[in-house]
């Protein structure tokens, strides 16, 4: 549509203007987070602080308010991402390399799993966790988070593995290497970027997940930042907007940084592109 004609120039002006207006609409809610976090007398409206200060950050960066919840988040998302990636690599290998009768039903099942509305399941999941006596258990929550991110991870991992050439493995097979040693010594090193993308993808998802830990973890000292920030909002949210914004930003920074990292390595579309039709 971009063409060197008189109408092309006016088209460009119109496009730019409309885009800038839409961009402003998208910016405003986020701008509030940034400005309010630097303002000790923040309100709910976007406004320039009279004095810029880091007091809000200092106020929330205490062990009870932010640090322990962030550590819990790290534990939950890290544990979930490690388990998911290991299981996904293992599962993707036979799916990608061998023609087996289980492949097709398994892949259909996996794709089906990527579509399940997980939120819908939280009530039955809660009953199941009560029955297994797993309520308030970090390990159980990690395993559930891993299971929910596994379908997408397997699907992405298989696609990445399909693009690793088989010729090197064939040489290893001829030399008598076993399946596992071929996988760990040849395939995994070759697809390190892909594994990184899947890891970050799962980590971001688990880090931002609010509903799962909200239902499955009860004691405050075990809760991740997603839940404790909501509790903070309920307790002080109506007075300490600045601190709420500061806490929100601290909690968001790891996710934003990881996203930038992935998009730098060209995997940004892997996040959306994993589903390209």
């Amino acid at each position: 549509m971009a063409m060197t004609s008189p109408s092309g120039t006016s088209m460009r002006v119109v496009s730019n203007t409309v885009l800038v207006v839409i961009g402003l609409c998208f910016l405003l809610p986020m701008l509030w987070l940034l400005l309010a976090s630097l303002d000790t007398s923040a309100t709910l409206s976007v406004k320039l602080p009279e004095t810029f200060s880091l007091d809000n950050f200092i106020a929330v960066l205490t062990p009870e308010t932010a640090l322990i919840p962030l550590l819990n988040s790290l534990l939950l998302s890290g544990g979930c991402a490690i388990i998911t990636v290991v299981c996904a690599v293992l599962a993707a290998y036979p799916l990608s390399r061998y023609r087996m009768r289980v492949n097709k039903p398994f892949l259909y099942g996996v794709l089906f799993g990527t579509c399940l509305p997980i939120t819908a399941m939280m009530v039955p999941v809660y009953s199941l966790f009560v029955a297994f006596n797993l309520i308030d258990s970090i390990g159980g929550t990690i395993l559930f988070l891993a299971a929910t991110s596994l379908p997408m991870a397997i699907w992405m991992m298989k696609n990445f593995m399909d693009s690793v050439p088989v010729s090197l493995e064939e040489a290893a097979w001829v030399d008598g290497a076993s399946m596992m040693s071929t996988l760990t010594r040849i395939v995994v090193p070759l697809m390190r970027p892909g594994i990184g993308v899947v890891f970050i993808f799962v980590f971001i998802g688990a880090w931002g997940n609010f509903f799962v830990p909200f239902v499955l973890l009860l004691s405050p000292e075990q809760q991740p930042a997603a839940v404790s920030i909501f509790t903070f909002f309920g307790q002080y949210g109506s007075v300490a907007y600045g601190q709420l914004a500061a806490f929100s930003l601290i909690y968001s920074v790891p996710v934003l940084a990881l996203y930038v990292l992935v998009s730098r390595t060209g995997g940004s579309f892997a996040l959306a592109g994993a589903v390209k039709g």
Binding site: L44, C87, L90, F210, A272
Partner: protein, 315 residues
């Protein structure tokens, strides 16, 4: 794959019948060994994904609750939960609100805005494209709770939107109380459009420029080129994206929960919130599970349509 292809080829040896039988037996053992790495994933999925699905279907047929006599041992009550559900006035209202939320924020909002942004970006300045793209994606990458806080502040009675309206002399209403659905719909569009934008940008990049150019030479106007050339060429992306945004929006919980809590009253209680409230606020696990089961079935139906569209990639 080459190795298996050779191995699978029928052997031509003196006793083909005997040989084939051996092959088949060793082939079965080999594929059993080869599927061992699937085991951890299968176990995890079976216990933590299939388990809840099955217990959801079964639990919706019992009278289990968080307190009272039914908390100890739930008994089988058949379809009582579903019958009670359809008699409860909150349920039809919640179904309606869920449909409104789905259609307005996912099917219309995110898809149209996402496609519009992708199209506009094709003819925009590099710098504008970069900055606006970053802003749109930024709203998407933010954790759900943080996005919800930002949207809450934006729509509050003394929030950004109303102070903007005040500068042009309009006293804005208290959006979250007077128009709770409109607020959460706009917030969900704000949060989710990036996904559609990325999918459509990728799809538009795959449309060969020669085709639209030759249509332009033939005198097709901008919207004609869009209607008759571009949209038909990306229709597969449109259908998959519609499916996926629908599924994602169907399970939106945190955004609404933080912004309005489903209120005022039940005016923004979509099905996920109703399931949560019935189960955890009123202790009616069976009731909540029945809603969850209905959501699962709706999600499963959407997924089947989606899988049909993706079939060539699996085969």
């Amino acid at each position: 794959m080459t190795a298996t292809a050779i191995a699978a080829a029928p052997g031509r040896t003196p006793d083909p019948e005997q040989h084939r039988r051996d092959r088949r037996r060793s082939g079965a053992r080999r594929s059993l060994i080869r599927s061992i790495p699937l085991l951890p994933a299968v176990l995890l999925l079976a216990v933590f994904l299939l388990g809840p699905v099955i217990s959801s279907f079964y639990g919706s047929l019992t009278d289990s609750s968080l307190s009272g006599s039914a908390a100890q041992g739930a008994s089988f009550v058949g379809f009582d939960n579903y019958i009670a559900l359809f008699q409860d006035p909150d349920f039809p209202k919640s179904v309606l609100l869920t449909f409104v939320f789905l259609i307005a924020s996912a099917i219309v909002g995110q898809n149209v805005l996402g496609l519009g942004l992708a199209l506009l970006m094709q003819s925009a300045n590099g710098a504008v494209r970069g900055v606006v793209g970053t802003l749109v994606v930024g709203a998407w990458v933010l954790p759900e709770v943080v996005g919800a806080f930002a949207a809450y502040a934006f729509f509050s009675a003394d929030g950004t939107l109303n102070s903007l309206l005040a500068t042009i002399g309009i006293t804005g209403p208290s959006w979250l109380y007077s128009f709770p659905m409109l607020s959460v719909i706009l917030a969900n569009i704000w949060r989710g459009t990036a996904f559609s934008m990325l999918v459509y940008t990728a799809a538009l990049n795959d449309v060969p420029p020669e085709i639209t150019e030759s249509a332009a030479v033939d005198g097709a106007r901008g919207w004609q080129r869009l209607r008759y050339i571009t949209l038909p060429m990306i229709r597969r992306s449109i259908s998959t994206n519609l499916m996926l945004t629908t599924l994602q929006t169907l399970s939106v919980f945190g955004l609404i929960f933080v912004m309005t809590g489903g209120g005022p009253g039940t005016d923004s209680t979509t099905l996920p919130l109703l399931a949560y409230q019935e189960a955890f606020k009123f202790g009616e696990l069976g009731f909540g599970t029945a809603i969850a089961t209905i959501l699962l079935i709706v999600g499963a139906l959407c997924s089947v349509v989606y899988l049909k569209a993706l079939k060539p990639e699996v085969d």
